[in-house]
């Protein structure tokens, strides 16, 4: 059984389809919650920042309103009685400067000859010349100079915004309204002028104003910073820095940002963002060019004065709490995920282990190994019940297979015995069949042989009779032959004697020939000597020389002829000698032949006697053989029948043997199948 991949295991599936999705869901919830929390916290922080900006703006507005009220009170005092009373007015203005330490200067400026007393004033002494211009126009301007308050002329005010601003506003609306001008730096101190028109009988008769020192705004900004932990920038309506908590001090102690134009400052690039496009809360995030880190800004416009309050906090500072919240969420979420994951994994592992144990037990059972113990568990859930069932199953299978195994063994031994018995029977039947066949064949052969023997005996009987006849004839022939042979013997002896005579005669011829040869030789010598002598005789011997030569020739011829005769006689002698020897041998053979013929005759006589005596015996044997042959024929038929029966028996036994072999094979299969199981003994 191949081991499944982890994904295909129960544990893998439980982890993959149970634990993992749960963890993912919890993680998603925690993440979303953290994101929401982050957003909410950021929103709250941004809101708080915006509120701080608004509070600061309201504070600025309130303060401006307050000083506007003072300016308005001064204007109202003019319209309600003081107008034209130059001396009292001068004192009143001085009293205002003296009364309010924040006021560094206050003035009243009439329109030229607004009270109709310009000319007379030049002549009078009641009012200081410093309170009017060269034309006698009433323009007293009390200015705080260290501990004293000095009266100056307010000259050139026609060109001043603090004068023209309220005048234009009155001309436009027909109503008096406070006016705050753009702060200016005066004697190293930023000053803003609050102005209010003097309206006499519905006409613009001049205006009053007071110069307020803005150094105190820096303190206010510090207070806000202390409260919010945020930097505060206060800008005028003309986008000039009035006060800030984030201003760097130069070596000379001068403030860098204060009194600077926003467009010319380091924050010039963000000018568009700083000035809100709509009233109220406006929050944005940007990289601070001075701090060089992301910061969150909130801007708010003061209703009175149109001043712009910008509150700045670094993003890290703002998000600290949010981050803490998110971290807390993540930690709590992670702990939750770990707890849930751990618990579910533990349960999965436990269940998977039990199911794996059950699977292993089932696999052992499938392999037939019933020896492996089934793991016990204390669990009472379904897996525990499954393990208990597996244990019961193994025990039951052990018992069942054990019983089958014992039964198989007993059955196998019985089948083996049956098989052996049937084989034994088959062998016996086969042996019996073979033996009966052999007997039948033997009997058949005996019958046939008996018949043959009868026939042969008949032939032998006939032959014996014929032999007796022939023997008798032979004996008679032999008797004739014996006499012929004896005659031959005699003739041979005679021939031998004649041949001996011839031999003797030829020897005599040889002697004669020798003599003739000697004579011829002598004649030869004689002729030679005759020739020699004839030569010595000279011409008398000439004729004799011829005769001598002839004689010698004759002698030579004689010698030659005698040589031929000698050779012929020698050949004849050799032939006669061999003839004599052959005749001797022949004579011997004839003699032996005569002896043999006589012996053969005697034996023939004996044969004839025996043949004559055998004829009766042959007859008896013949009859017995015929009877035996018939008996053998009957036995053969009986044996053939027996052999057929034995064959049938053997076939039956073979069938039985095959059946028992099949039974054994089936038992073998059963045992093999049972043997696959390993059982407890």
């Amino acid at each position: 059984m191949t081991k499944p991949s982890f994904v295909n295991t129960l544990l893998g599936r439980m982890l993959l389809f149970g634990v993992l999705p749960t963890i993912l869901a919890i993680a998603a919830v925690v993440t979303m919650s953290a994101i929401d929390s982050y957003r909410d916290l950021r929103s709250v922080e941004e809101g708080l920042l915006g509120l701080s900006a608004r509070d600061a703006a309201i504070e600025m507005s309130f303060r401006n309103e307050r000083w506007n009220s003072v300016a308005a009170t001064m204007a109202i005092s003019q319209s309600e009685g003081l107008f034209g009373q130059r001396e009292a007015t001068t004192d009143f203005v001085k009293a205002v400067v003296t009364e309010f330490p924040l006021i560094v200067g206050a003035f009243v400026a009439y329109e030229p000859n607004a009270d109709g007393a310009d000319a007379s004033a030049l002549k009078g002494v009641a009012v200081s010349r410093d309170a009017m211009d060269f034309a006698g126009r009433f323009v007293p301007y009390w200015v705080r100079s260290s501990a004293n308050v000095l009266l100056n002329q307010r000259i050139g005010m026609e060109t001043m915004e603090s004068y023209q601003g309220p005048k234009k506003e009155f001309a436009r609306t027909g109503k008096g309204a406070p006016f705050i001008n753009e702060p200016v730096v005066r004697d190293g101190v930023m000053v803003v002028t609050h102005a209010y028109p003097i309206i006499i009988e519905g006409k613009f008769a001049g205006n009053v104003g007071l110069d307020r020192e803005l150094g105190t705004l820096a303190e206010i900004a510090k207070d806000i910073r202390t409260k919010l932990g945020a930097d505060v920038f206060i800008l005028s309506a003309g986008d000039r820095f009035i006060a800030t908590t984030a201003d760097a001090q130069t070596a000379s102690g001068a403030r860098v940002l204060a009194t600077q134009e926003l467009g010319e400052s380091a924050y010039g690039a963000q000018a568009a963002l700083w000035r809100p496009t709509k009233a109220g809360r406006n929050v944005f995030e940007a990289i601070d060019p001075v701090l060089g880190e992301p910061c969150i800004y909130a801007t708010s416009i003061a209703q009175t004065g149109g001043w712009n309050v910008v509150v700045r906090r670094t993003k890290a500072d703002v998000m600290r709490l949010a981050n803490v919240g998110v971290k807390r969420n993540i930690i709590v979420g992670s702990i939750g995920v770990l707890l849930v994951g751990g618990l579910m994994s533990s349960i999965s592992l436990s269940v998977s282990r039990r199911v794996r144990n059950a699977a292993a037990a089932a696999e052992h059972i499938a392999r037939g190994d019933l020896l492996q113990p089934v793991v016990t568990t204390s669990s009472r859930d379904e897996t525990g019940q499954l393990m208990q069932s597996m244990r019961t199953l193994v025990a039951n299978l052990n018992s069942l297979i054990g019983s089958i195994k014992h039964a198989g063994i007993r059955l196998n031994s019985t089948a083996t015995e049956i098989s052996a018995t049937s084989k034994h029977q088959e062998a016996s039947a086969s042996t019996f069949g073979a033996a009966s066949s052999q007997i039948a064949a033997a009997v058949k052969e005996i019958s046939a042989t008996g018949k043959d023997l009868v026939r042969t005996m008949k032939e032998v009987s006939a032959n014996a009779a014929q032999t007796a006849k022939l023997a008798i004839a032979g004996r008679e022939g032999l008797q004739g032959m014996e006499s012929v042979m004896q005659n031959l013997d005699r003739a041979t002896t005679l021939i031998a004697e004649r041949l001996a005579t011839i031999n003797e005669r030829s020897q005599k011829i040889t002697t004669v020939i020798t003599t003739i040869t000697k004579v011829a030789d002598q004649t030869n010598i004689l002729s030679i000597n005759a020739a020699i002598e004839a030569e010595k005789a000279g011409e008398f011997g000439a004729g004799f020389l011829v005769i001598a030569r002839e004689i010698r020739r004759l002698a030579d011829q004689t010698a030659s002829a005698t040589l031929d005769i000698q050779q012929m006689v020698q050949q004849m002698q050799a032939s006669v000698s061999s003839g004599v020897m052959e005749m001797d041998r022949f004579s011997d053979q004839v003699r032996r032949g005569v002896r043999d013929v006589v012996a053969a005759g005697a034996q023939l006589s004996e044969i004839i006697d025996r043949v004559n005596r055998s004829t009766d015996s042959f007859k008896q044997v013949n009859e017995s053989m015929e009877a035996q042959s018939e008996g053998a024929q009957q036995i053969s038929e009986a044996m053939t029948s027996l052999s057929a029966n034995a064959h049938q028996t053997m076939q039956s036994v073979q069938e039985f043997g095959r059946a028992s072999s099949d039974l054994q094979a089936a038992i073998g299969v059963l045992r093999h199948a049972v043997a696959e199981f390993k059982l407890k003994e």
């Binding site: 030789d521 010598i525 030679i528 020739a531 020699i532 030569e535 010595k536 020389l545």
Partner: protein
């Protein structure tokens, strides 16, 4: 000049001897061998009441002696030498006598022989119907030493 020559054979060679120097031709004779005699001297045999030496022509010619045959002949030759007081006879045992014929040893076709040579039996050679035949003169039959030895014996016998 034609000479009646007895042509004989010895040691496989055909030789001829002037018939006038031959006293008689005899069949094989028995002789008495002389102890310590040279091999070519067969011994002495009786001829017409006198004992004369029997010399073997085959051995005289320098080859081995052959067994005796019935057709062997003994030529009784008269040997005449310058210093000899008497003519003397000697028996020359030859293999056979072939023919008696007149032969002209000096005619064209013959050969004068090598007479100046110290060797014997180198007389003139003639071509006959039997083949080449060399003439053996009776005075050239023996070397001076052989002749001297025989002569001494004969002289002592005569004295």
């Amino acid at each position: 000049m034609q000479t009646l020559a007895v042509i004989w054979r010895a040691a496989g060679l055909r030789m001829a001897t002037d018939a006038r120097t031959i006293v008689e031709v005899l069949p094989p004779v028995s002789c008495r061998p002389g102890a310590g005699a040279p091999e070519w001297l067969r011994g002495l045999f009786a001829y017409r009441g006198a004992l004369i030496p029997l010399v073997d022509a085959t051995q005289l010619l320098g080859t081995a002696r052959e067994s005796d045959r019935m057709f062997n002949r003994v030529l009784v030759v008269r040997v005449g030498t310058v210093n000899a007081p008497v003519d003397w006879l000697v028996g020359l045992w030859v293999e056979s006598v072939l023919e008696i014929e007149r032969i002209d040893f000096e005619s064209a076709g013959g050969h004068p022989g090598f007479g100046t040579d110290v060797r014997r039996f180198l007389g003139p050679v003639a071509q006959t119907r039997l083949g080449q035949v060399q003439l053996v003169r009776s005075e050239e039959l023996f070397t001076p030493q052989q002749a001297a030895m025989i002569m001494q014996r004969l002289t002592e016998a005569a004295a």
